[in-house]
């Protein structure tokens, strides 16, 4: 374990014990790590989604967090934080204003307002937990759902076999916003995740974005104890490469010289169990193409960094 992760793990847990996340939920783990890293001088926005649903914002007269926490709307997480931050700046207060939002609130409904906040350079830290759909309401499709995936709104039947469009390459969409700090991270690589959150915090101003892929045991169909392993396979197959962009310079944090074939990842999830070889090959083709594009951006702007963990 790295020194940083070790040190972060000793800090106060700012999320209440006993929130009602599903067994094996790696989003809860991500949130606890993120908030331990950022510390108590923070306010936390959790739009409707899994982490709101499991009680982090509280219920009735109770709360699920030890920092000020609130529900933004599904589609205004970023600007609500922008406004709070503007007021803190007027008062000379250095408060982390933090979004912890699912892909529905980020890639779908919240995208316009988040992109606006990013363009303005509003000083917020935005973390997207991407579990590829509206998981707390029964797994409806989002723009971030992978192609071929069964969802409750893209069911598998005689005529159709799951979602018909590829997953939006949303980390790249945010990379193209030219942010002072942007990263793709994974809960399977906690040292890397914590380092990125700390780095985002240390950037003095501007919009900072971290995209975390969080495979969902209940929704995607794998057992709770496979939660981290499936997340790791997404990185090892280059389905979700880990990278950073700092002021336009791309860095690949865990370069995968010979990525595993994507079927090693897809085959672990029941939501893909109906895919034919041809359909799997189609996903492989897009994964390869996107990884080549990322490598080209890295070689064109930044540098490879040797793996430091795991």
């Amino acid at each position: 374990m790295s020194d940083l992760l070790n040190e972060v793990m000793q800090r106060d847990d700012l999320i209440s014990p006993g929130i009602s996340a599903c067994v094996g939920c790696n989003v809860e783990l991500t949130l606890r790590l993120v908030m331990k890293t950022l510390g108590p001088q923070s306010i936390l926005a959790i739009p409707p989604g899994c982490m709101g649903g499991v009680g982090v914002v509280g219920y009735g007269a109770t709360t699920g967090a030890k920092v000020p926490v609130f529900f933004p709307l599904l589609d205004n997480t970023a600007p609500m934080l922008s406004g709070a931050r503007l007021q803190y700046e007027r008062e000379g207060r250095d408060v982390n204003v933090v979004a912890f939002a699912g892909d529905g609130a980020t890639v779908d409904a919240g995208f316009g307002s988040m992109s606006g906040a990013a363009e303005r350079g509003d000083s917020i830290i935005y973390i997207c937990y991407d579990n590829e759909g509206y998981m707390n309401t029964g797994f409806q499709r989002s723009g971030s759902t992978a192609k071929g995936s069964w969802t409750s709104t893209t069911p598998v039947g005689e005529r159709l076999g799951g979602k018909t469009q590829h997953k939006m390459d949303f980390p790249m969409v945010m990379a193209m916003h030219d942010l002072p700090y942007m990263a793709a991270a994974s809960v399977a690589y906690p040292q890397d995740l914590v380092r990125k959150v700390q780095k985002a915090q240390q950037v003095p101003e501007g919009f900072r974005y971290i995209h975390v892929l969080n495979p969902c045991p209940n929704g995607w169909g794998f057992s709770a104890e496979e939660s981290i392993e499936v997340a790791r396979l997404a990185v090892q197959t280059a389905f979700h490469p880990l990278f950073e962009v700092i002021d336009g310079d791309f860095t690949l944090d865990r370069p995968v010289s010979e990525p595993k074939k994507v079927h090693h990842y897809l085959s672990r999830c029941r939501k893909f169990s109906h895919l034919s070889e041809v359909e799997t090959e189609d996903i492989q083709r897009v994964v390869d193409r996107r990884y080549r594009r990322l490598q080209a951006l890295v070689s064109g702007t930044g540098s490879y960094e040797a793996a430091s963990d795991g």
Partner: protein, 396 residues
């Protein structure tokens, strides 16, 4: 010392905002509101206004930024019109239900379709039940005065609700009139700093804001919100009176009566049409008609008692609506006024006119009064009448 300045309605609003010293302004430009945002931007650029200004990508985000700023303890302002207000509806409803004292000018503009950019308060009237206080004004001076008053009303610890100051697009926003500006120090004294503790995001005083709320608590929130609206019926006239002590100008608080004392019939108006209605009343008074004028200044909370008192001894009244209430076959103001007079069997007429920026002329209003004077009691349930400008009827 008071200063006289010749300004259009948007500049009157901007000057009032400047004197009210908001912390955060977020706005998106839309015709006919855009100048107001431009004036505010210029004040900030010239260091005449110490506010944080955010030029957002939509009205939805404008209101969202103000919610965040207000939750962090700031005084906030924005302005919009028609489609912008419609886009803003989601956070619009949430601002009063979070009890955030945001002030927003609505430069009234007709709703599409058909495609239009001209005036009419259909935009804000349609949202009258969303929990905001709504004040409708008739002149540029009243725009200025009402915005200063709005911050005071919104932040009153017995109210804590957002306030809309609504003024007619183009007729006021782009019309130039002289207004009188009070000294900035007087306004600063009239508006003590906003120091919230009812709802606040502060890492040193941890609060969960708006957790998932079961129905029995939600009902408690709704009850208190409705009570705050009713308390505003007392607070708004008090604030108007105090402001009159400062400036010498009172706008009547909730409603404004003109030549109503001995009137047998009355016109009921909202917004800038009141100016023309006053002239129409004067003209027919000169002809011996006993007619008066009641301006509804505050639509929410609805001044039911004042409306009842003003109209209950009249033989008949006519409500002029620059809007429609689909499904009622009448205008919105007419249904509101009739509700306040339920139980009183007073005949009334409803006129709809001036939609989409069309003029409501003095002649039209005089014709309405003449019809009203001759009104037969059987006509109580007559359908609404449309005020058309015959000179425009040849347009294709």
């Amino acid at each position: 010392m008071n200063r006289i300045k010749v300004v259009n309605g948007n500049e009157a609003a901007a000057l009032a905002v400047k004197m009210s010293s908001p912390d955060v302004i977020a706005a998106y430009p839309i015709t006919p509101q855009s100048q107001l945002v431009e004036y505010l931007g210029q004040y900030v650029a010239d260091d005449e206004l110490d506010a944080s200004m955010s030029e957002v990508e939509s009205e939805h985000s404008a209101m969202s930024i103000l919610q965040g700023a207000s939750l962090a303890g700031g005084r906030t302002f924005t302005a919009t019109s028609s489609q912008g207000l419609a886009l803003m509806y989601e956070p619009y409803f949430r601002t009063p239900t979070l009890r955030l004292p945001v002030v927003m000018a609505i430069v009234n503009r007709e709703m599409i379709s058909p495609q239009t950019v001209w005036g009419g308060p259909q935009d804000s009237l349609t949202l009258r039940d969303a929990g905001w206080i709504q004040i409708y004004v008739e002149s540029n001076q009243e725009i200025f005065d009402a915005i200063v008053q709005a911050f005071r009303i919104a932040e009153d610890e017995d109210i804590l609700l957002p306030v809309n100051v609504c003024y007619d697009g183009f007729y006021l926003s782009h019309l130039t009139e002289p207004i009188e500006l009070p000294p900035a120090d007087d306004v600063a004294e009239f508006l003590p700093p906003y120091e919230p503790d009812h709802i606040l995001l502060d890492p040193d005083d941890v609060m969960s804001v708006d957790p998932l709320t079961p129905g029995h608590l939600l009902m408690e929130y709704r009850r208190r919100h409705m009570e705050a609206q009713q308390r505003a019926l007392q607070v708004i006239p008090q604030v108007d009176e105090e402001y009159a002590g400062l400036t010498g100008r009172s706008w009547g608080g909730l409603t404004y009566s003109y030549r109503m004392q001995d009137a047998e019939v009355a016109l009921v108006t909202l917004g800038s049409m009141t100016g023309a209605a006053r002239v129409a009343v004067d003209n027919l008074r000169d002809e011996g008609r006993k007619v008066g004028l009641l301006k509804i200044r505050v639509l929410r909370p609805f001044p039911a008692t004042e409306v009842l008192c003003a109209l209950q001894d009249k033989r008949a009244y006519a409500v002029i609506d620059r809007n429609v209430s689909f499904g009622w076959g009448s205008g919105i103001l007419h249904t509101e006024v009739r509700a306040a007079l339920s139980g009183k069997n007073i005949p009334s007429l409803n006129y709809i006119g001036g939609l989409g920026g069309e003029d409501l002329t003095v002649q039209m209003l005089q014709d309405a009064i003449n019809e009203l004077v001759q009104l037969d009691c059987e006509a109580v349930d007559a359908p609404c009448r449309w005020l058309h400008n015959p000179q425009r009827s040849g347009d294709r």
